[in-house]
């Protein structure tokens, strides 16, 4: 009798390589960026010319420490670099500077949120422990053309933070949720841009399975160089199924390094354990041990943004936002801060403001092209609020006018559209368009009485009095018509009930 897949538990650990957002390379002053001509962003140090020496880029170290603070790691007193020796043409010195024994980040955890049963319901939260993160240099790119090989060293020396998790992930969904959280933390703190299309985030995925309820970890495989969240998810699903199939067929799992073919959605063996490199690690003699002062840590601590899930909880619990709106807002720090600025300008109705931001503002921004092109796996689509024509306080002004009954919700939509087009204040548009709603009780009483007296609505009045609540709406149309749509609908409702009651 074969067991069902649910008898097995999958255990996943990730190694996430993230290119840090820095001006210069990690050990050289050469700048770096995407889309340059091959070997345009190199200098004698990047190329490893004889006599050149590495100098640690302070910005890259500080971004790494900032990441450590974001995930609540204890920042070590010191960190150091080691040489990882191996021969390959994409590696200009034939050793890579990395951190083996004294990484810049030790410990920490990342909170993740699994999908809820529906979009409107928050899913389960979990904490995934970070083992460590080390700062190293990226390598160049080798490509084969015709009879020869070409190598581009633009990427060589780009600062790469390798974030290593504990084997705490238990499903493809958790792996996916982890990466989404991690990307949000990194981008919101300005540590990295995580643009997967540009190869700024690559992932090695360690997978093993064990019988549910057992402790001992199974033999793991490592699938290398996954460059999208969906590839990680698909690899976990594929590798879990493959390992279950192997074990249930009575075979064993080989500890091996694997690759992933995203087009075919298939994994393949790169090399087994016997082919493992001997990297001959030793401390790099060119870079002295770096002491991390507590002053630096304290300064960087001030740059740590509010954690997105702390923010989400605050929005739901303190501001009373629905989960859906809260989750949309916190996914983008700029958007959340925009929302908070608007909410601060009109503290009475954060829900109303959130509603405008998550529906109307995001929709119009996307339509106007201010949102970044939606990126595969990017979470969320990068919205640029820098060019947003409406300022937070202006949106607050609009919501306030609605809340105070100066304009109706329907009028507010028209005003919003005009604000987005012109950047004017809500009140100015209301006045210019004469949209101010009529709340003059005396004048409206006369109109209401006139409409009630009209025989054309007698049937509706009779129905209302017979208990059909909705019948009252039939009287509102004629009233609006007589007031050119400006009558305060709340007041009309009250007056109708008074006179018919």
């Amino acid at each position: 009798m074969s067991s069902s897949p649910s008898d097995w538990e999958v255990v996943i650990g990730l190694e996430v390589h993230v290119q840090l957002h820095t001006r210069a390379k990690v050990f050289a002053s050469s700048p770096w960026g995407f889309g340059k001509e091959p070997n345009e962003q190199v200098d004698p140090v990047v190329l490893g010319l004889p006599g050149t020496l590495p100098v640690v880029n302070r910005e890259a170290v500080e971004k790494s420490i900032l990441f450590g603070l974001v995930v609540g790691s204890s920042v070590p007193e010191q960190c150091a670099w080691d040489r990882k020796n191996y021969f390959y043409p994409d590696n200009p010195k034939n050793y890579q500077l990395t951190q083996k024994d004294f990484p810049v980040v030790v410990g920490g955890q990342v909170e993740i949120e699994l999908p809820g049963v529906s979009r409107n319901v928050m899913g389960e939260h979990k904490f995934i422990r970070i083992h460590h993160a080390h700062l190293e240099e990226d390598v160049g790119k080798l490509s084969h053309a015709g009879s020869g090989s070409l190598v581009d060293y633009n990427r060589a020396g780009v600062p790469l933070l390798e974030i290593v998790t504990e084997p705490d992930l238990r499903s493809a969904a958790e792996a996916e949720a982890f990466l989404r959280s991690l990307v949000a933390l990194l981008t919101q703190a300005g540590v990295a841009d995580c643009d997967m299309e540009k190869g700024q985030l690559r992932c090695d995925c360690n997978v093993s399975i064990r019988r549910r309820g057992t402790e001992k970890l199974g033999t793991r495989t490592e699938t290398k160089n996954l460059n999208s969240i969906s590839s990680v998810r698909d690899t976990v699903i594929y590798e879990t199924a493959r390992q279950i199939r192997e074990l249930e067929a009575g075979r064993s799992i080989t500890q091996e390094t694997r690759g992933w073919n995203a087009e075919l959605s298939r994994g393949y063996v790169l090399r087994d354990k016997e082919d493992a490199h001997d990297y001959r690690y030793f401390p790099d003699p060119d870079i002295p041990t770096l002491r991390i002062s507590r002053e630096t840590v304290a300064r960087l601590q001030t740059l740590v943004p509010e954690n997105l899930y702390d923010r989400q909880r605050r929005y739901v619990e303190k501001l009373g936002l629905p989960f859906t709106a809260a989750s949309v807002l916190v996914a983008n720090r700029e958007l959340a801060e925009w929302f908070e600025a608007a909410a601060a300008a009109h503290p009475a109705n954060p829900q109303g403001i959130a509603n405008w931001v998550t529906n109307d503002l995001l929709r119009d921004l996307a339509a106007s092209g201010a949102a970044g092109a939606p990126l595969t796996d990017a979470v969320p689509p990068a919205v640029s609020l820098a060019s947003c024509p409406i300022k937070p306080a202006q949106l607050a002004g609009l919501v306030k006018l609605t809340d105070e009954g100066v304009i109706s919700k329907q009028q507010a939509k028209e005003v919003f559209a005009e604000m987005f087009k012109t950047g004017q204040e809500a009140l100015a548009i209301v006045d210019a368009k004469g949209l101010r709603q009529n709340s003059d009780t005396g004048e409206l009483e006369k109109i209401v009485q006139a409409v009630i007296a009209d025989p054309a609505v007698a049937k509706s009045i009779a129905e209302y009095r017979a208990g059909n609540e909705k019948a009252i709406n039939a009287l509102k149309g004629p009233i609006m018509k007589r007031t050119q749509g400006k009558a305060n609908p709340v007041l009309i409702d009250q007056l109708l009930r008074k006179f018919l009651g």
């Binding site: 490893g48 021969f87 043409p89 200009p92 060119d286």
Partner: protein, 485 residues
């Protein structure tokens, strides 16, 4: 008078240039004539760009005429070991691997020399990648000891020492990883100083063993050596192991007659030639006669220095020399194949036997399963040696020993016995392992060959070493002796 120009000290040349009785052009022309007369016998220089030298000399003379002289080295030629980068000049490290390499940038010391107005004067032969003690490992050419052309000049800065002894140039740069400045200085009867690790930037020095390598000045007198050192020492943000300590290291040391001199126990015994021991003993007696306090000190771990060095230095070298693979620059094998085959073939063809031996040794001592027994153990021994030297130097100002146990040997004599050759550096290696400054000063002869004594001081005590050297030099004529060619 022009006949004698090549024999003058840099200090004297500086005085004449400043007085206007000499131009840099006249000096360089005299040296170029000397080069044509004797370099083919000595083999010190591997490259001399005469037009470039004369253009630099003219520029220097013009600066001086305009009142814009840059300092004590203005107009004075400095020859440079072929592992220190000069923009537009070869940087071969006397290796087939880099035979075609022209440096696209200046080393920090090169920039310092330019800023001081010095003339960058030619490239000097060396053991391939600075690995050797006789300059016989040069893939370019042999260099011979000017005192006896049948003998080696020492190494790896053999070209630098021979050029000075042959009066081809007044000042030269060397580099020292285990004795590569001091040992050839001793063999050629000149002065060579290895500074405190970190005093001079290594930016632009082709790495052999990064934690041991230092650039240093070489000259025919202690005074000239100091002149050059002052121009070289400065902080450099491009070398994280270089620190701003020039002021401390070069602050005048006071009265050299009050120095406390330690004589390490046993260093004048086994393996030291009788005439070497006699010359060094005479130097010790000279200092005693001047009022210096002489005492014996114990350095019990000194025997560990050579094996420790050959583990640490080769481990670092195996990694440092990884970059020479034919992909970006240097020798590329003509035999086609995969990129990795191309790299393998390029390295097999480009490196000489001693370099290969050290790469293999270094690769072995770092390998999984062996690193603990060799590399990690060597690091512990290194710490112990450093601690002993620092403890000894807390009780005395300098330690005095021979620089090399025996004088220069015949070309080819030790070529088949690398282990015997490694013992040439037995007295000089500890200063590299401990990062300490050390100087070799000529003190006599063994037969017709020069002998030097060696002083090691505490970190940044260069001024004391120089003061002690000057005291000796002022009372002896060895310094200004030059080999007859």
């Amino acid at each position: 008078m022009d006949d004698a120009l090549h024999t003058l000290s840099a200090a004297e040349l500086g005085r004449r240039l400043a007085a206007g009785t000499l131009t840099s052009r006249a000096l360089c022309e005299a040296l170029i004539a000397r080069y044509h007369a004797v370099n083919n016998k000595v083999g010190a220089f591997t490259h001399l760009d005469e037009a470039d030298v004369l253009a630099q000399a003219d520029a220097s003379d013009a600066r001086r005429k305009a009142g814009q002289g840059r300092g004590p080295l203005e107009g004075i030629p400095v020859a440079i070991k072929d592992n220190i980068a000069v923009k537009g000049q070869p940087l071969t490290c006397s290796s087939q691997m880099l035979a075609s390499l022209v440096s696209p940038y200046d080393a920090h010391v090169t920039e310092r020399l330019r800023a001081a107005g010095a003339i960058l004067y030619g490239r000097l032969n060396m053991d391939e990648f600075a690995m050797g003690s006789s300059t016989e490992n040069s893939a370019t050419q042999k260099t011979f000891n000017p005192w006896d052309l049948a003998c080696i000049p020492g190494g790896s800065s053999g070209g630098s020492a021979a050029a000075l002894a042959a009066s081809l140039v007044p000042l030269a740069l060397g580099s020292d990883t285990g004795g590569s400045i001091r040992q050839p200085a001793s063999h050629c009867g000149i002065v060579g100083l290895k500074p405190t690790y970190g005093l001079i930037s290594r930016f632009g020095l082709v790495a052999f063993a990064s934690s041991l390598d230092q650039i240093g000045p070489m000259a025919r007198s202690v005074e000239d050596c100091e002149l050059l050192l002052c121009a070289l020492a400065s902080a450099d943000a491009r070398d994280m192991t270089c620190f701003a300590a020039a002021d401390r290291a070069l602050t005048p040391a006071g009265d050299a007659k009050k120095l406390r001199i330690g004589i390490p126990k046993g260093f004048l015994g086994k393996g030291v030639g009788a005439e070497v021991a006699a010359a060094v003993t005479a130097a010790i007696e000279f200092y005693r006669s001047q009022g210096c306090a002489i005492s014996e000190v114990e350095l019990p771990s000194a025997d560990l220095a050579v094996p420790t060095y050959y583990v640490v230095a080769t481990a670092e070298a195996s990694s440092n020399l990884g970059r020479y693979d034919g992909v970006r620059y240097g020798h590329r094998s003509a035999s086609a194949g995969t990129p990795v085959e191309m790299m393998t073939n390029s390295r097999s063809e480009g490196f000489g036997p001693e370099v290969k031996r050290r790469i293999l040794l270094g690769t072995f001592v770092l390998s999984a399963g062996y690193a603990d027994a060799y590399y990690m153990r060597a690091l512990r021994a290194r710490s112990k040696i450093r601690a002993e030297y620092l403890a000894a130097l807390a009780t005395v100002d300098v330690l005095l020993t021979p620089t090399v146990p025996t004088p220069a040997f015949k070309v080819g004599e030790k070529a088949a016995d690398p282990l015997q050759l490694y013992l040439e550096d037995i007295f000089t290696i500890p200063a590299n392992l401990a990062g300490l400054p050390a100087i070799s000063v000529p003190c006599g002869k063994s037969g017709h060959l020069p002998v030097g004594f060696h002083l090691v001081g505490a970190p940044l005590s260069e001024a004391k070493l120089l003061a002690a050297g000057r005291l000796f030099e002022s009372a002896h004529r060895f310094a200004h002796q030059q080999a007859a060619l």
